[in-house]
Symmetry: C2
Subunit: 514 residues, 2 copies
Amino acid sequence: MNGAESLVRTLLKGGIDVSFANPGTSEMHYVAALDKIDGMRCVLCLFEGVVSGAADGYARMAGKPAATLLHLGPGLGNALANLHNAKKATSPIVNIVGEHATHHIQYNSPLTSDIEGIAWPVSAWVKTSMTSNAVGPDGAEAIAAAQTAPGNISTLILPADTAWNEGGVIGNVPKIPKREAVSGEALSTAIELLKNDKKTLLLLGGSTLMEKPLEVAGRIKTKTGADVLAEGMNTRIQRGVGRLPIIRIPYPVPQALEILKDYQQIILVGAADPVGFFAYPGKPSRLAPEGCRVHLLATPAQECEQALEALCDGVGANNVMSELQKPNRPDRPTGAITLDTIASAIGALLPENAIVIDESVTTGRGFLPFTAGAAPHDWLQNRGGAIGLGLPMATGAAIACPDRKVICLESDGSGMYCPQALWTQAREGLDVTTLVFANRSYNILKGELAGVGAGNPGPTAKDMLSLDRPIIDWVAFSKSLGVEAVQVDNADDLCKAFEAAIAVEGPSLVEIVI
Amino acid sequence: MNGAESLVRTLLKGGIDVSFANPGTSEMHYVAALDKIDGMRCVLCLFEGVVSGAADGYARMAGKPAATLLHLGPGLGNALANLHNAKKATSPIVNIVGEHATHHIQYNSPLTSDIEGIAWPVSAWVKTSMTSNAVGPDGAEAIAAAQTAPGNISTLILPADTAWNEGGVIGNVPKIPKREAVSGEALSTAIELLKNDKKTLLLLGGSTLMEKPLEVAGRIKTKTGADVLAEGMNTRIQRGVGRLPIIRIPYPVPQALEILKDYQQIILVGAADPVGFFAYPGKPSRLAPEGCRVHLLATPAQECEQALEALCDGVGANNVMSELQKPNRPDRPTGAITLDTIASAIGALLPENAIVIDESVTTGRGFLPFTAGAAPHDWLQNRGGAIGLGLPMATGAAIACPDRKVICLESDGSGMYCPQALWTQAREGLDVTTLVFANRSYNILKGELAGVGAGNPGPTAKDMLSLDRPIIDWVAFSKSLGVEAVQVDNADDLCKAFEAAIAVEGPSLVEIVI
């Protein structure tokens, strides 16, 4: 058994049975090993940003890591932006990065680079295997590191000779450390805060946005009168009928300050002290009002669900009822395409148990209220802010959940970062419906230019924010990569096209001209 | 004057008047500054890999750096693979990377990352400006570092507040250090080697592949009988009629060993001791035969041209003639598409003074002999091995040389890494003709799989090397991004389509089905 085979067998033993891959020469023995060993689903992507974004979407929905397969430093570099996003979303991923044979690295041939240096800014664990018998055990360590709470990125660097040499040993995945419980003091303080008469916010993040912990938070809300909010961007929110309706802190700093201005206390459960996405001249970075007490009950790596249950118990809310969402869909819209008619169409037609991938940027700021009363669904956002995650994340989520419909809400600017994901969706026959919001600009930057006080844009600045020269033909683009597509320019056609896309299994795209 | 304005003025003062840009919020003041100050051509790209690849192509043809504008760590990450290629090509580039305001970084908001950590593996110079009055002087240092021989990547990180705060100071670009002369000892040894009777190779790299130094090398060849070869991959070779014909060390290790096997001496001028691109089991990394003396006359950072002239003088070759290339074009091909008919079409029709961007991978291994006797042209290759450079590099070369026709030879696998470059070509009306070689596979990897001894591919391995499920429709793809395109499947149509594309000014694409 060579090192490559030992690694594939170690991954399978560690429960990893999906690889998103863009291989090269240095990974050929790993690719060959996949033929000899059953059980690894290998998904080819045309670009490494698709690989890493798909691994993020997979991890969020499967609750476990996929492996990636990347070609040396530049392949890892291409994956970096979506690895950044995955890191911020605490999605576990095991990167396998090929490297030159150990004896070849010294010669500085064209693809030689500092792979560990490229890996560290996005990884919690990085190691280069130096011998074939170390590959399996190193892989096992990588798996354990990725699954250690709250979820991490491991990067295992595999020199070609450690893959092709004999002597491979299947690794045993070390015991994954249990999540740390919250301290009794943090819990009792939180209970005290909820019992005083001050205006209190329970700010939820991380794993607390699933149906069950949300229901517990709802009981605390009913009992104590505290409000419950989610962070601005979230890994996965379970929403819709029968679940606790929850809104998130808005992106624009003035709106965020407004929504938080009256709180005297904020209790953080799996969430961070809220801050602005960006800094703006004369505006604060921290969003909590002055004098507000911010109390950390549980970090994302701690036992957040148990902390909420203990809190519920501590405030005597075990037997009260959460006010859960009742069915409430908007009317099917007609007329022109507006932000509201788009939101209404999504709210009116969102299928039950859908996985919604939200990279809708400015177009989608109002989507959450319109979809709150739809059938139960999961809502996934970009937590790292590096645009280009939507199409890849939809790809990975669809691989993780083949029986669920994936709805990808994608802006045209963001969609052009990793559009090669459409090809993988076609190749794998994935059940993804993509809505592209074609406002033909980096619309968010028009607001940001004003927000940072940079004044009215002149012709050069305007030119840097405009995508209408030339207009991108998303329908032809999508079809060229194997995904059927239509363009709509009114709400009636949008509804018809969205319905038709949902009715068919397989990938499709609707370009919505705004 | 704020920091952003001081930086734009410093760049202009330092001779940098082209920016390839993909800006975000943290770069808005820089974008606003472009409106206030005349003289900077700002080229918008839809993805940062296009930004960095275009900056590489620009630097190779303009002989000076462009600036890039990148959005925080992930924007730099997306640029990384083509920055790796630029580093290996010794192309000078000044990266401007936005960062959160200095007071905001501590809050770890979504886009916060270790930008310096991401920058170092591809940069020779990295600095974060900490105050608005440091931005200009730091920018001036960055320019000087980029232009220090042999050409480097500088990365200046610009926190938003240092851009928006007043107090900007225009920087003075420090004197750029002169290239170091070669030592008298290195020169006299090289002269001795050329005068003994041993079989000798003059191996050229870096700046020595331009018309003038090549002619000097040709005189040394005529006088001494030494052979002259180029490295395997080269930044820029000036070829065609009236220039010294030069072949390069082949990519496949067995062919490279064969071509080098009889040399007793190799003299390196701007070239490195030759090594294989990858390692293979049982094959050597170094390509020079055992016992061959390898003598370094000049590193790429030294005065390579002067060294060649001194060498020419030292061997008494000042008054001999170089054997320069005579006109010799292949016949215009007919019949089926084969590697030879493609090569013949390019050789028969290549326009005078063309800039050829070569990312043709396996399809193009025979292109050089077929084009050797064409009209004078420049030939640019990918020196870092990270595929995805072709379309961006063509974009940047066309910006640098608006009066020359750019011919981009692009493989379908490589072309799908940064295809967004086509949109920028359409937007800027660039005179680029792209030939896409659609063999619908990662064809190189089929050979590599055998080359590394990984055995015959089974179904899983084959699936990882195939791009035919679905077939990519390059014509529809290209048109969707604004670039006219046609598909051809025989040599006659290829010639007609190539001629038609050359005849019109502006971007176009020909998909060649292999």
